[in-house]
């Protein structure tokens, strides 16, 4: 896979992620009790043997950089190439530092993109959860005769999306942008395999016309001009992390053993930064039912239908139901939490009661003391 280069977009976070992204970008949100969202894009690239990867970031990226480091966890710490972090203002040329769209973000790191030695570029969102078989997608791209392959899914998430309708010749004949709910065609994962020369050409055209959107501007005009686009259908689990609701739902999806085995399949392991920790201890009165629990937790109370990250303490008599709890949080004795997302480093004191709603979970921001 030496002819492929990865580019991950980690520069934005949907405002509907609210407090969860006040300290971080969507790509570095902790998820599934162990991972960061960007691990899925990185692992998909790694498992396809793609080691040269640029990560475009723009704001609130400290937590992302702390996570990525030199890319070692994904074997992307290489003598040549490997992981490149691409913050704004990192290179000369056209940019405002304010990315209104993907084309503007690409132009912001234009020098990097133009210098990519590989012939093909894989563009992925850092904010989606899917374990992609990019080897198969790349094989398809090499044989399709189209300079762009759109990675799509039959899943219809509860968020605005782009959709592609395939014609009888197997290429995209129609694109629907920003549609909500069920519709025709396939959901775009906003992941593409694209010939580098075409990508650079699109970037130049958009820069010249002051256009900055990837779909509305670059793709629409490419298709309108008769450009060929193939579709690779990803059949496994897919969830875009674009709102608190979708984040909450994704976490709870992993309590379903079939979905979990699908996303964390043995053929394509999902890698993340390694923490050396101890195992989780369950006390004499602990109850853990239908839950995912990370390492180095101490569970003395009751946990039902929850996702707990590492280093969470659930003291005696505490009751957690339908909660997502991030790292280094303590739930005090007798506290009662239902439908709550607790961010990192929180302390919920004894006998506190917090209750959200299944449709609107309560978010306890990072570092809260309640």
């Amino acid at each position: 896979m030496n002819n492929f280069h990865g580019v991950i977009f980690a520069y934005s976070a949907s405002p509907e992620l609210r407090e969860l992204v006040s300290h971080r970008t969507a790509a570095s949100m902790p998820i599934f009790g162990r991972y960061r969202v960007i691990d899925f894009a990185l692992s998909s690239l790694m498992n396809a043997g793609i080691h040269d990867v640029g990560v475009i970031m723009q704001r609130d990226y400290q937590s992302l950089m702390d996570h990525l480091r030199n890319g070692k966890a994904w074997d992307m710490s290489r003598k040549d190439g490997g992981l490149r972090l691409l913050p704004p203002f990192g290179m000369p040329g056209y940019h405002s530092g304010n990315y209104f769209g993907t084309m503007e973000a690409l132009n912001g790191v234009g020098e990097y993109i133009r210098d990519i030695p590989q012939k093909y570029v894989v563009l992925l969102l850092g904010s989606m959860c899917a374990n992609l078989d990019l080897r198969a997608a790349a094989r398809m791209h090499l044989h399709s005769g189209a300079p762009i392959t759109a990675i799509c899914s039959t899943t219809v998430p509860d968020a605005p999306q782009h959709r592609y309708i395939v014609g009888p010749d197997g290429y995209v004949k129609e694109a629907l942008f920003y549609v909500e709910g069920e519709s025709r065609g396939f959901t775009s994962l906003e992941g593409y395999i694209i010939d580098k020369d075409l990508l650079v050409k699109m970037m130049e055209e958009c820069a010249a016309k002051n256009l900055y959107r990837f779909h509305r501007d670059a793709i629409a005009s490419y298709l309108a001009g008769g450009g060929k686009m193939d579709v690779y259908l990803h059949e496994g689990y897919y969830m875009p992390i674009r709102s608190v609701d979708l984040y909450y739902r994704a976490n709870r999806d992993m309590l379903d053993t079939d979905k979990r085995h699908d996303l964390f399949c043995a053929e394509r392991p999902v890698r993340t930064r390694h923490h050396s920790l101890v195992s989780t201890y369950y006390g004499e009165k602990a109850v853990s039912s239908n839950s995912l629990v990370g390492d180095n937790c101490r569970i003395m109370g009751t946990v039902e239908d929850c996702v707990l990250s590492s280093e969470v303490v659930v003291e005696e008599g505490a009751y957690l139901k339908d909660c997502v709890v991030m790292r280094r949080t303590t739930i005090g004795k007798g506290a009662r939490l239902e439908n709550v997302i607790v961010d990192k480093n929180c302390i919920i004191s004894s006998d506190t009661a917090l209750k959200g709603n299944e449709k609107l979970p309560l978010v306890v921001p990072k570092g809260s003391r309640i």
Binding site: F32, G33, R34, Y35, A73, M254, L255, T257, R260, F264, P269, V270, R271, T272, H274, S276, L277, V278, S279, T280, Y281, Y282, G283, E284, A286, V287, S288, S289, N290, S291, L292, V293, G294, D295, N296, V307, L308, S309, S310
Partner: protein
Amino acid sequence: MKKSCIAMLLAGGQGSRLYALTQDVAKPSVPFGGKYRIIDFPLSNCANSGIDTVGVLTQYRPLKLNSYIGNGQPWDLDVSDGGVYILPPYLGAHEQGSWFSGTANAIYQNIAFIEMYDPDNVLILSGDHIYKMDYAEMLRVHLDNEAACTIAVQQVSMAEATRMGIMSVDEKDFITEFEEKPKQPKSDLASMGIYIFNWKKLRAALIEDENDPNSSKDFGKNIIPKMLAAGERMLAFRFKGYWRDVGTITSLWDANMDMLSPDLINLFDPDWPISSRSPVCPPHFTSKDARIVHSIVTEGCEIFGEVENSVLSSSCKVGRGAKVLYSVLMPGAVVGDGAVVEYAIVGENTVIGAGAHIGAPPDGTDAWGVATCGPDITIRAGAVVPASAMIYSGEEV
């Protein structure tokens, strides 16, 4: 570059008293306590004590150990000047060289490695104990007392003393007498097999011992008594913390059970982390019917049954209606639906068939013991493996 102290870790022994568990691997790479392998303890202690150069002497079935240690990155031992080195026996010119014939001979054969770092002192460690110890503190005491050799010791009961190397000391803790497994112990201070030697003195003693045809080339039996007889300053360094030998099935099981009591050894201590090379797995899953009491569970496990008083390593599976009681499951062990595993150690990737019954609770007789299934075994559905049983890889059960 010159180093004040480097460590040499003796990891070549088979650990024959672990039987099936060390059939294919060296003892230091036997999984322990959910997240670890035995060698994580001395390696982490080295890293935490600021000792950044560690030679690991391997001989018996070293493949797993070699790949486990790798470049030493999990212990932060991947440094540019020093680091962790696997040292197997090797041949020199004219086919000179041989297998390590004893602990002292193993160090003797690696004099050239030690000289590369020109250390003032050498720390000798073994890969079969579970403990947290600050070797830097021991080195400080060693240097303050200008000792030729400092031996870490721990107080033991008189009954235990008959099975160990026992030191008698003077009022300043200088060793006056050393006895290997005495019938009538004169002291209750037992050697922990952790030594710091002045390198020049050790080098001379090793060369001298090598030329002694009657020597068994062992630290405890030969080097220490000889240096003591020669009137060298030999100091005892008292260690009071948790320290367990895990060289037998019973002691390995006991020490694993100790991991359920953080009062004995606190592995949650951020100031003294015990690090390991462990695979990245999703958090462990507990189903609606799972019941987990007084146990530790690790990443990647899936629990559909009952777990009580047990230690589960990464990626173990406990099936529906299955029970795991007072047992140790090593990484990737699978307990089939409705099976019972009690007072047992189940090796890596071993599969216990549905409805099988492994082990039994203590019945008060001397014949009772922990049941052990080695790694990579499939126990067929409904099979019964009695207490004290030892199932080897390749056996049909």
